[in-house]
Amino acid sequence: MIFSHFTALVIFALIVSTVFAMITKNEPREQLRYGVFVFLSFLAVAFLVGWLMYPLPL
């Protein structure tokens, strides 16, 4: 099983945000809102860090 970096990141973010949302919030609407926020935050931070690292000679 081989995933691209992005696919692995999206699956990771989806699972972790689901668990975080269900642990920290009690109401379904709050859980949905917080889960979407955490999921999008994962993606946004990954894109940001990726672009910041882009010019580095790694």
Partner: protein
């Protein structure tokens, strides 16, 4: 009109649902079950939808980690940092020992998704620890 408003204001509000706290021994037994089988603690408490979702998250993450040829760490004191990886891995409970028994978590370092798989295996164990703590709080009546 005023009487109607008074009637509305004095209407009994539904009391927040507060479950009776379990004994500490029962809570610890519950948490042990939740550690060994992800999601089981919530199912036993009666939060079965939450338990099924947690079980699906942890077990799918574990299966994906194994599928990506991630490595499961054993308890080795020669490499002190591997102890932390071992602690994270055993958080998954019985799936860890099943995978070890069937030699599934060997880890193929030259596999493209090896690092991702190993990270998935760590994180699913750590998530299960959080899930068990959540079940502990619910069982002790600290959380609705």
């Amino acid at each position: 009109m005023d009487q109607a408003n008074e009637h509305v204001e004095s209407a009994p509000q539904p009391a927040p649902v507060q479950s009776q706290p379990l004994h500490m021994a029962a809570t610890l037994a519950l948490c042990s079950g939740g550690w060994l089988v992800p999601g089981l603690a919530h199912i036993l408490i009666g939060r079965w939808i939450r338990g099924i979702i947690f079980a699906a998250c942890v077990l799918s993450m574990f299966a994906l980690g194994i599928g990506m040829h991630g490595k499961l760490y054993d308890l080795e004191f020669d490499e002190p940092l591997h102890v932390f990886a071992f602690i994270a891995n055993i958080g998954a409970g019985i799936p860890y020992w099943l995978a070890e028994h069937f030699n599934l978590g060997v880890g193929t370092m030259n596999w493209p998704s090896y690092d991702y798989g190993t990270t998935y295996l760590w994180v699913c164990g750590l998530l299960n620890y959080l899930i068990v703590l959540d079940a502990f709080d619910i069982a002790q009546g600290r959380k609705p």
